[in-house]
């Protein structure tokens, strides 16, 4: 995907949430394994587009969310970090994705300016 435009959107969303008299210190993201987003690339782009800060001033943390798949052959659910993993119970590749596509800003860390 195009992590740069995602980073720009994240910066826009986050800027609205920083309280008066505070500066941004950290961004906490959740990225699902099936979101199509490369976390290293996204962090790199975020560090490049956060205005007025040097890379490293804002700590960016990524929580990876495993995918939850439902096997359409035997009905069992299983988690995976790989879309191509077959059902561990019956080895089928016919399944439905229940979760794992998330890309969210969970929270931000801020610090009051003295």
């Amino acid at each position: 995907m195009h992590e740069l435009s995602l980073a720009t959107e994240i910066v826009r969303m986050v800027a609205e949430q920083v309280p008066q008299g505070c500066v941004l210190n950290g961004i906490n993201l959740s990225i699902g394994y099936l979101s199509g987003v490369n976390p290293d690339s996204l962090v790199f782009c975020l560090e490049s587009v956060i205005p007025g800060r040097d890379p490293g001033d804002v700590r960016i943390s990524v929580n990876r969310i495993p995918a939850l798949l439902n096997c359409l052959e035997c009905g069992s659910n299983y988690t995976t970090d790989d879309l191509y993993e077959p059902c561990p119970a019956c080895d089928s590749l016919r399944r439905k994705v229940l979760s794992g596509r998330e890309l969210t800003v969970d929270s931000i860390e801020t610090v009051e300016i003295e």
């Binding site: 435009s5 959107e9 969303m13 309280p19 399944r95 929270s107 931000i108 801020t110 009051e112």
Partner: protein
């Protein structure tokens, strides 16, 4: 810095703004009685040729939003074939997003009274368009024979999210090492409810079946 630290909870999906605009787009289409179709594929798979074929059969019932980095070539082709078309030139963006479609829809108003189908031909790209909701009712992915039958698994972001797979240039079967059954099986594996049509936009083969399907969805 020695100031007090504060955590601000957000739990905000990054695509939220896009998705909200997509919902507004969908409402506009619903109110106008239009069936919105997002058509995605790599460059050269045959999206515009398909739209020319549809324009010949559907005429003034078809309106198209064309998305390209540059030129109005595709909109010109579709207009020449008999449909209404509006061209978006993204100037560099590799996909259409809901905001771009919202602007296009407002430029196209008032909508034609004869319009029934609103196709959005996305920028040629198998990766990015799949992630952006536009407000359509049906997402169509197209794979053509020269691209190879191994591409479904290589581009799961798109092929797992589409409602319809069109396997295009089926008239070349026998000239190329493409196994349609393999591509279909791989698509169904990651997308069990997908509808699949083998078509040739060049010869018209399979087009009527696709139109019948669209009419079934439109209701």
């Amino acid at each position: 810095m020695n100031g007090r630290t504060r955590t601000v909870k957000m739990k905000s999906p990054v695509m939220e703004r896009n998705d909200r605009i997509a919902e507004k787009n969908r409402m506009i289409l619903d109110q106008a009685g239009l069936l919105g179709v997002n058509l995605m594929s790599s460059p050269g798979a045959g999206k515009t040729t398909l739209l020319e074929r549809l324009a010949e059969r559907l005429g003034d019932r078809l309106a198209v939003i064309e998305g390209d980095v540059q030129t109005t070539r595709d909109a010109d082709r579709v207009k020449k074939a008999g449909a209404s078309a509006y061209q978006i030139e993204t100037g560099g963006a590799c996909h259409l997003d809901a905001h771009a479609v919202q602007k296009a829809l407002s430029q196209m108003m008032p909508f034609g009274k004869t319009w029934k189908y609103l196709f959005i031909e996305n920028v040629g790209n198998l990766i990015c368009p799949g992630s952006y909701k536009l407000g359509d009712h049906i997402r169509v992915g197209m794979l053509s024979l020269p691209e190879g039958d191994d591409k479904i698994m290589k581009y799961p972001g798109l092929f797992s999210r589409i409602d319809v797979l069109l396997i295009n240039k089926i008239d070349l079967l026998g000239h190329l090492r493409f196994d349609p059954a393999r591509a279909e099986e791989e698509c169904r594996g990651m997308n069990p409810s997908v509808e699949i049509f083998r078509i040739s936009a060049e010869t018209g083969d399979g087009i009527q079946e696709f139109i019948s399907f669209l009419n079934g969805v439109a209701g």
